[in-house]
């Protein structure tokens, strides 16, 4: 008899656990309404890098480009640009856009090497 009570107790714990997970992950997840830039889909990140490349091509300001790329806080600007270029290639961005991003990537790389 006592064994059955323990078993039922464990089952109810399990049911409560499942309900807690359901509530915590599905019904009412503990999340803010906004998401950080780092979670953007790679295609949007690649497009953002393209926009920075367009701006860079116009004003040749590497410092500004780095500042804009720091929008994604989980990677260094150079890495963000390089990953953006790879994604752009995978998504078949047109040749002119790829060239622009490539120029930005090269400039960031050269600029990074020149810094002490």
């Amino acid at each position: 008899m006592r064994g059955i009570r323990y078993l039922l107790f464990l089952i109810m714990i399990g049911v409560g656990l499942a309900a807690g997970l359901l509530i915590g992950w599905v019904v009412s997840p503990n999340q803010s309404e906004s998401t950080p830039p780092e979670t953007l889909h790679p295609s949007y990140k690649a497009d953002y890098v393209l926009m920075v490349a367009e701006i860079y091509r116009a004003n040749q300001s590497l410092e500004e480009a780095r500042g804009r790329l720091a929008f994604f806080k989980d990677t260094e600007p150079e890495q963000t640009a390089a990953v953006g270029l790879e994604t752009a290639r995978e998504l078949n961005f047109n040749a002119a856009d790829l060239e622009m991003i490539n120029q930005l990537v090269l400039a960031l790389k050269i600029g990074g090497e020149e810094q002490p």
């Binding site: 399990g14 049911v15 409560g16 656990l17 503990n30 949007y44 929008f71 998504l91 002119a96």
Partner: protein, 309 residues
């Protein structure tokens, strides 16, 4: 009594399990989103993103792209976002370059669709090929889910196994096709011999402006003291993004044409106060227009034209 106490232990187990589940789901292993869209960014991040869109448009005037980017960021009501941000910059006296870029883009978006400028519907209501291509290539609201919820796969499976339920499903949000690698449109600059466009410095709508018309309007159709300013280019087309500085003894104000997109792209206005003398300068190098005053019952309209250089 004994039966009630016997049932109570079941409730205790349920509450205990619920508490453990909630702590785990909310604290130890909370949901993490990935593959999100710009529309879910925080307000500050959206403002930074919007700036980049506007500056990119200034550098490479592709209205199609800019429009789709703004839709992904602000949804269908994207004009308000740009205008509000431009006005905020101006009121805070922020760097004029960003404010101007936002203003120019807002004005461009509010202009009637010129031929080849923006994909428009065919006369019979169908999409142009450019619009169709754009729709296919943009991971917009229709193509992608809002977010993908993910948790650590191992721990999720383990936790789910104890409860005998499936792990949280991961909704696919893979967008269709590339974004926004459009086929060349009328907006795109023609390729050079090298195959890519030569660098195009961003050209602010500045230069010298001449006062070409001055009218006092006392017919009651406009509010008294309202200073209406119209700025056109050398071809008599409304010119957005032109900086206007107005000063008076105790202060000054800076604003740009094109923020009142419902009127026209070259329009701006200012409310003059009685017993105050104003001086106004359009652009950076133009001759100022001095001694503008409030006249009871009347407004004042000034029209400027850009010098041909």
């Amino acid at each position: 009594m004994t039966e009630k106490r016997g049932n109570l232990y079941l409730l205790t187990g349920l509450i205990l399990g619920l508490a453990v589940g909630l702590v785990y789901a909310w604290v130890i292993n909370p949901l993490e989103y990935e593959d999100t869209e710009p529309i879910s960014l925080a307000a500050d991040d959206k403002a930074a993103y919007r700036q980049v869109i506007a500056l990119a448009y200034q550098a490479n005037p592709n209205l199609n792209r800019a429009s789709e980017r703004l839709k992904a960021l602000d949804g269908l009501d994207n004009m308000q976002g740009i205008i509000a941000q431009a006005q905020q910059f101006i009121s805070e006296n922020e760097t004029s370059r960003e404010a101007r870029a936002l203003t120019v883009l807002a004005a461009a978006l509010s202009r009637p669709q010129a031929s080849g400028e923006t994909p428009a519907a065919q006369p019979d209501g169908t999409q142009t090929p450019e619009a169709a291509a754009l729709t296919e290539q943009v991971p917009g609201q229709a193509a992608a889910a809002a977010a993908v919820a993910t948790a650590d796969a191992v721990s999720t499976a383990a936790a789910a196994a104890t409860a005998g339920i499936a792990a949280p499903a991961q909704a696919s949000s893979t967008p269709a096709g590339a974004f926004p690698t459009l086929n060349p449109t009328a907006d795109d600059p023609p390729p050079t011999e090298a195959g890519t466009s030569a660098p195009r410095p961003s050209a602010p709508p500045d230069g010298t402006f001449q006062l070409v018309d001055r009218q006092q309007i006392c017919d009651g159709n406009i509010p008294e003291g309202l200073l209406l300013i119209q700025v056109n280019d050398a071809d008599e087309q409304p010119l957005p993004g032109v900086r206007i500085r107005i000063t008076w003894q105790d202060g000054e104000d800076v604003f740009y044409t094109g923020l009142a997109s419902d009127i026209n792209a070259g329009y701006a206005d200012f409310r003059m106060m009685p017993e105050t003398v104003y001086n106004l300068r359009v652009g950076e190098t133009s001759q100022p227009v001095n001694n503008l005053v409030f006249n009871a019952g009347c407004g004042l309209r000034l029209e400027f034209a850009q010098d041909e250089n």
